[in-house]
Amino acid sequence: MSIYLLIALALSFTTTGQVLQKLATNRVDSTADRPGFIMQILSFRETYLAITCLVLGMLIWLLVLYHMEVSKATPFLSLGFFLVTLVSRYKLKETVSLQRWGGVLLVTLGLWLVSLS
């Protein structure tokens, strides 16, 4: 299997997992204390879906790391920053200012430069 297909799979699972985590924490009652926060999180379906996605993403990522230098492989995850920001904007209805998009662009650009050794 192509290493780039593996990277794309890892990226998709990780992005989905991140957004599901946020959806889970959004459901916690804001008056909860720390143990209460954990207990509530553990009772949500989103949490387990998120963990499943993140574990799958991580296992696939381990395979990627086996074949690739870590500082060469990680820049591909930079695309995840755009994906997560996009989903935050449209699915979670967050306000993403031009400055924040600029920051995400610089992060992605910087990580691609790191990949050119």
Partner: protein, 139 residues
């Protein structure tokens, strides 16, 4: 519920731990690759304490990092917190270049990239929508 300031502290802890996780897992994979190069059989690899050790410390760091992360994003917008995770690549780059086991290459292009990432994170940090409660239910 944690304060916004504590949420940033949780985020910092999470970033440090996930960087450690990446590095430890890579250390483990590097040791396996070394065993393979020497023609070792699977059992030899499984019996090498350092291979399993680094892998478990790596996975453990990820698990703890996840808990800190949940406390962080409960208070922060995902579009603010998530891009800041890129700081872990800055940490990974610096450590991977200086850890003899990993011994990864350094170049001016890569170092420039690292500075651009840091600049991006500063921009994102300053784009905080103050007073906005990141989609948390109101009391």
């Amino acid at each position: 519920m944690t304060s916004r300031r504590n949420a940033f502290l949780c985020m910092t802890a999470s970033i440090l731990l996930s960087s450690m996780a990446q590095l430890f897992m890579k250390a483990s994979m590097t040791l396996i690759a070394q065993h393979n190069a020497q023609g070792a059989v699977l059992l030899d690899i499984m019996l090498d304490v350092s291979v399993i050790g680094w892998l478990f410390v790596g996975l453990g760091s990820y698990a703890v990092s996840l808990v800190f992360w949940l406390f962080a994003i409960a208070r922060l917008e995902l579009s603010l917190a998530y891009p800041m995770l890129s700081l872990s690549y800055v940490i990974v780059y610096i450590v991977a270049a200086n850890w003899p086991l990993l011994n990864e290459s350094v170049s001016w292009t890569r170092t420039l990239g690292i500075f651009i990432v840091i600049l991006g994170v500063i921009l994102i940090a300053q784009s905080e929508n103050r007073g906005e409660e990141a989609g948390i239910k109101k009391r």
